[in-house]
């Protein structure tokens, strides 16, 4: 059988959001600018970075997302998140390690309704024709500077994003909350990923070492954050511990 994670999630639970209930209505946000950068990471600690519910991908990977919302029906915000690639049973997923939002009200809403963490730091997504750059600053220090260069147009159909598994306190206890947004693409570019700064400790796990670039994409898409359908116990395999949201 595939390998399972062995992470003690207590340190992540300290900063995990509390969701008063799981009855979340869906929310569509139009024309979100999305940067997605994927790297392979060193395999030695891959099991210790994931909870027992999840399998690591082989090779282990890390995804960094930047999302910028402007002029939609909701308040503007910019979000950055760091996820470790994994499998929940047979499903491709990303385990959320850290999440930053420059709009406190938005951060609280995303935390309460979909279990996105609220980590201290200010994300900025800078979109240019020749490159897209995502930074996160905390206390005057840059803890993330990552992005895409040499963009070339591709089809949105060529892009595949995977769902999040967000660790949260729920009425049933600590759970991994599956957040599986839908995307309707208006534009898509693929480019070369680059990393200038990746402060692993500040981004959720000091054991992460980026080892090999995979790909970067920049898209503009309508994003629908869904009604929640599934949660998963943290400490048993997802095949056994997945629960349907009533």
């Amino acid at each position: 059988m595939p390998l399972f994670g062995s992470r003690d999630v207590s340190s992540l639970l300290d900063g995990a959001p509390t969701m008063p209930d799981l009855q979340t209505d869906s929310l569509t946000i139009e024309r979100v600018e999305i940067l997605h950068v994927r790297y392979e990471i060193r395999s030695a600690p891959m099991l210790e970075m994931l909870p027992a519910a999840l399998h690591p991908t082989i090779p282990p990977t890390l995804s960094v997302w930047g999302m910028k919302v402007r002029g939609s029906d909701i308040d503007d915000f910019t979000l950055a998140q760091v996820c470790i690639g994994c499998r929940a049973g047979v499903r491709p997923r990303g385990f959320l390690l850290s999440c930053f939002n420059d709009n406190d009200a938005s951060a609280k809403d995303l935390a309460a309704r979909w279990g996105f963490r609220q980590d201290a730091g200010t994300p900025k997504l800078d979109v240019a024709h020749h490159r897209t750059q995502l930074t996160v600053e905390r206390d005057g220090k840059t803890i993330l500077d990552i992005g895409l260069v040499s963009p070339e147009a591709i089809s949105g159909n060529d892009v595949q994003y995977v769902a999040n598994m967000n660790l949260a306190h729920t009425p049933s206890g600590p759970r991994l909350v599956q957040v599986d947004p839908e995307f309707v693409f208006h534009k898509a570019d693929r480019g070369k990923p680059y990393v200038e700064v990746f402060d692993a400790e500040e981004l959720g796990d000091d054991r992460i070492v980026l080892s090999w670039p995979v790909a970067a994409s920049f898209t503009v898409a309508d994003v629908t954050l869904p009604k929640l359908r599934y949660t998963c116990k943290v400490d048993v395999p997802a095949m056994a511990g997945t629960e349907t949201v009533a």
């Binding site: 059988m1 595939p2 390998l3 994927r38 991908t57 049973g89 491709p92 089809s155 595949q160 898509a188």
Partner: protein, 365 residues
């Protein structure tokens, strides 16, 4: 209808010393029995780095060993990854010719391009390029086999005129196939006169449509080789037992194990945005079959698991949609004990093969 067996050579953890040898030995024992029972082909994949799922980076060696201990069964080298970072074109021509000679002219050549980021990145291959290099390989390979000397100035590979030796024993050359996983590849196969080395993707109705279109298109083909290999080969699981419930339960465990392992692979499409890989590859398709609607026994309708009567019924349906050959996966991660695998093969040969007139030359009960 002809029957073959198909190997990923999956090795479950823990990888204790001798574990891989034990799995290889089990496979060889199955191949020897398959030869005695009248199975027509044994296929072996080329995969790299796919932990537990496939420990088969050198199928030509495994197939050579198979050829040395068998008499009739044909050896399917497939798929060979037709990407220069994995296999230089000249090496492909040379080693297939040697295998054809050593097997006494029993080689089938399967071609493809790899579908995982794990493998493509491991060899530094560009996912955007693999379909193009595959196309170049299949067009040039037959010329390398059939011309005394051959030089080539191409896009992916170029080399001056050389005697590429030895030549295959089969004349004019071994049959060629292409792995059909991405949508539309069956049309690529047809247009080039290649056999379709496909999977049980979709249900019977969908497969029938694809086979019909393949048959129509191949009539109009411009063959890359010296002959047209119009055949449709599919993959299925096999577990045959006198008791349908026990056969079904073990077969579903086999299919479930394989699919679970397969789902752990990091598909090229998942990691790297590219139009070169419009689907995740073979794995969701196989899973779809395994999780599809059940029949009266509660078993997935297209899978060759259960008792002989049920398996005959399933294969008759595949035959009805135009499939010429079925290659069976006999085990996954050694989830089925070796003796049960061998018993399943014997029962299949005794009770199922005779229902398909041309399926065997010799059946041993």
């Amino acid at each position: 209808m002809k029957f073959g067996i198909f190997y990923e050579i999956s090795v479950p953890r823990p990888w204790t010393p001798g574990r891989e040898k034990q799995v290889y030995d089990n496979c060889i024992e199955q191949v020897k029995l398959a030869d005695e029972l009248g199975f027509d082909q044994v296929w072996c994949v080329e995969h790299h780095f796919l932990e537990e799922y496939s420990h088969s980076p050198a199928p030509e060696l495994f197939l050579t060993a198979c050829a040395m201990v068998t008499e009739r069964i044909r050896v399917g080298h497939g798929i060979i990854v037709c990407v220069p970072e994995f296999n230089h074109l000249i090496k492909v021509a040379e080693r297939t010719a040697v295998l054809d000679i050593l097997s006494g002219g029993r080689l089938e050549v399967g071609t493809g391009r790899s579908a995982t980021w794990t493998e493509l990145a491991g060899f530094g291959a560009d996912p955007d390029e693999t379909k193009k290099t595959w196309d170049e390989y299949v067009r040039v390979l037959p010329k390398m086999w059939t011309n005394e000397r051959f030089g080539y100035n191409g896009r992916a590979v170029s080399f001056p005129e050389r005697a590429i030796i030895p030549k295959p024993l089969q004349q004019p050359h071994p049959p060629m196939w292409v792995a059909v996983t991405s949508p539309g590849t069956e049309l690529d196969a047809a247009d080039r006169g290649l056999g379709s080395l496909g999977l049980t993707f979709g249900g019977f109705a969908e497969q029938e449509k694809k086979v019909k279109e393949y048959r129509r298109r191949i009539q109009l083909c411009d063959p890359v080789g010296d002959f047209v290999n119009e055949q449709v080969n599919t993959v299925n699981f096999l577990y045959c037992h006198e008791d349908v419930k026990q056969g079904g339960a073990t077969g579903q465990r086999l299919a479930g194990t394989f699919n679970y392992m397969a789902s752990q692979l990091l598909a090229a499409r998942e990691a790297y945005p590219t139009r070169s890989y419009p689907s995740l590859g073979l794995l969701p398709a196989v899973r779809q079959e395994a999780e599809g609607p059940g029949d009266a026994n509660g078993l997935p309708e297209g899978l060759a698991i259960g008792d002989p009567d049920r398996i005959i019924e399933v294969i008759k349906r595949w035959e009805g949609v135009g499939v010429d050959r079925i290659n069976f996966l006999l085990n996954a991660a050694e989830t089925v004990p070796q003796q049960e695998v061998l018993d399943s093969m014997r029962l299949f040969a005794a009770e199922v093969m005779p229902a398909f007139a041309d399926s065997t030359e010799k059946v041993v009960a």
